[in-house]
């Protein structure tokens, strides 16, 4: 996760306004506050995470993303971020639209379900993958919309979303070497920097 932040931090302008959807304990916003002096807000529904944000001095709003984001005005943020949560949304494509409405730019990170180990798990064991990154059983997982790097590329094309940057993250050798050649197969976590065209 910490690797995600270094990319995101490069894409966020100093003193800008950042909204983090599903901000967890607020560590990304805290990092951006300290590095770039941003004005940040996180949305979160988990009480413990909310408390951690408050203790860290991170602005946090208790709000369920699945209930919509209509209380945020068009273009009211420089950057809207969502890390590792798009796959847990009821309507990921609509959330993406909302993010691009509210923010001039968006940063999305998600687990790539096309990663070869995930594929191998399903292929050879014949069961839904339970990995370190996706550590849930099929029946209790909050991740209800699995998708791959390639799926996301198609979605961006279909919805005319402009990809400013994309980064592929892999932890292990040889994935680290092969991810640029076959991103859909060797990327564990994909990081996208998007804008409206």
């Amino acid at each position: 996760m910490s690797q995600d932040y270094s990319f995101i931090s490069d894409w966020v302008a100093p003193n800008s306004k950042v909204l983090d959807l599903g901000c967890g304990d607020g560590s990304l916003l805290l990092n951006l506050q300290q590095r770039h002096n941003i004005l940040g807000y996180g949305l979160e529904i988990d009480p413990d995470s909310i408390n951690q944000c408050i203790r860290h001095g991170v602005n946090v709003i208790e709000q369920d993303l699945n209930q919509g984001l209509t209380n945020f005005a068009d273009g009211s943020f420089d950057t809207v971020v969502m890390t590792q949560a798009l796959q847990a949304m009821r309507y990921p494509h609509l959330v993406l639209d909302e993010m691009l409405r509210i923010g001039r730019e968006c940063v999305i990170t998600f687990p790539n379900f096309g990663y070869w180990r995930t594929r191998a798990y399903l292929n050879f064991r014949g069961r839904m993958p339970v990995t370190k990154q996706l550590a849930y059983q099929w029946y209790d997982t909050p991740n209800i919309h699995f998708f791959t790097y390639a799926d996301f590329e198609v979605l961006c094309r279909e919805r005319s979303i402009n990809v400013l940057h994309r980064h592929c993250i892999a932890e292990h050798f040889p994935d680290t070497q092969l991810k640029s050649l076959w991103p859909n197969l060797f990327t564990q976590t994909a990081v996208y920097h998007l804008s409206r065209q």
């Binding site: 004005l39 807000y41 408390n51 944000c53 203790r55 946090v60 709003i61």
Partner: protein
């Protein structure tokens, strides 16, 4: 518990202080109070930098006795669970100031005080008040205590309205506003309940057009009824169900011959009403419910809450309670959205509770953690000179 052995985490035995503010106070209605009395309590120590002052703003029927015990009294102040050493409003870290506001009836100038012009109690002639008048009077107390800037202004319900008003009237005089179970303005339903309460008081023959003190009487039944109505709206249906259900206190509904039958909830409400009418003043109740009705945070800012909060400089914590239907979570979300749109630092928590509006006074672990966590953070930034952390 015995007053001589208050619990370890209590402030302990204390007594109220009072001050006569000699500076004239021009009220929003134009009337000038040449001088006024304020009764208040303080908890904790003011630090050398005089930077750890926290102002507590009470609600409709509140008073200055927020925490600790009076000598010989076995019940503590109204917010004792939240104010004390190691508690969310930590008196080891903060110098907490809690006053009785003007227009109320616990020693500060109000309808039961003598009007210097007539030599008689003010009664219903006491000038109409706005929340900003309370803020102005609190500002004079702040000067009296020589506190240059509040670390936080905190209040629930009408108290939250004062905290918000502070942030607009004196943006450089507070670093944080904690707005709990409050609203930027009352709904029609809310005003309706207040009017029923006022009508109940005025319908009591002993009200005597508000001159009951001169007549040597008091509209106790009317005030009790007003309180009973209010009390029901401060609780949730769920909580009343849990607390009383259909339990009977007297009688029996199976044996049809037993005549008097009384539900527990009837007995409880009557008790609460009578207790209240024995301690509160009817004219104060009318005056302060009107103050609630008249409050509209953004009226003078073109009815635009975002423009209003544009004047604020402090950070905000907004808290609501899920079962509160008198000051519903939607009202707190409106406050939060306006603050967000104005680009102010704000955190918002919606606490799950079945206790209705009264939840802001009652124990609740999540609420304690949120408020305590926020204020811990405030305390940790106090050493930094004002503005340097921005």
């Amino acid at each position: 518990m015995l007053p001589n052995s208050p619990p370890d985490n209590s402030i302990g035995i204390l007594s109220a202080q009072s001050v006569r503010i000699e500076q004239p106070l021009t009220l929003a209605c134009g009337v000038v109070l040449p001088a006024h009395d304020l009764v208040y309590e303080t908890y904790g120590e003011l630090n050398d930098e005089r930077s750890n002052g926290v102002l507590l703003c009470h609600a409709l029927s509140g008073d200055h006795h927020a925490a600790g015990f009076y000598e010989g009294d076995d019940s503590p102040g109204w917010w004792n669970h939240y104010v004390g050493p190691g508690k969310p409003i930590d008196t080891n870290k903060f110098f907490v100031v809690s006053l009785n506001n003007i227009g109320s009836c616990f020693g500060s100038t109000g309808p039961t005080s003598i009007n210097p012009d007539s030599g008689e109690p003010w009664g219903s002639d006491f000038p109409s008040l706005r929340a900003r008048d309370w803020v102005e009077s609190q500002k004079l107390l702040m000067e009296h205590l020589d506190i240059p800037c509040w670390a936080a202004v905190i209040g629930g319900s009408l108290g939250g309205m004062q905290a918000m008003r502070w942030s607009l009237e004196y943006p450089d005089k507070l670093l944080n506003a904690v707005v709990i179970a409050s609203s930027m303005k009352l709904s029609a339903q809310n005003i309706a309940f207040n009017e029923i309460a006022r009508r109940a008081i005025k319908s009591d023959p002993n009200f005597c057009d508000g001159r009951y003190l001169q007549e040597g009487t008091a509209p106790l039944r009317g005030l009790a009824l007003a309180r009973m109505i209010g009390h029901v709206t401060y609780l949730s249906d769920e909580l009343m169900g849990q607390k009383f259900g259909r339990e009977l206190r007297i009688g029996d509904l199976i044996d049809r011959n037993t005549d008097p039958v009384e539900f527990q909830v009837e007995s409880y409400l009557n008790y609460q009403g009578d207790k209240f009418s024995g301690t509160f003043d009817a004219n104060s109740y009318i005056l302060i419910t009107k103050m609630l009705d008249y409050f509209d945070l953004s009226r003078e800012y073109n009815n635009d809450p975002v423009a209003a909060f544009g004047h604020a400089k402090c950070n905000f914590l907004v808290v609501s309670f899920s079962s509160d239907w008198r000051f519903a979570p939607e009202r707190s979300r409106e406050i939060t959205d306006a603050l967000l749109a104005a680009g102010k630092s704000v955190s918002y928590v919606e606490i799950e509770s079945d206790k209705g509006h009264d939840a802001f006074l009652l124990p609740n672990e999540r609420y304690e953690n949120a408020l305590g966590g926020y204020l811990k953070r405030v305390a940790s930034t106090l050493c930094v000179p004002t503005g340097a952390d921005k």
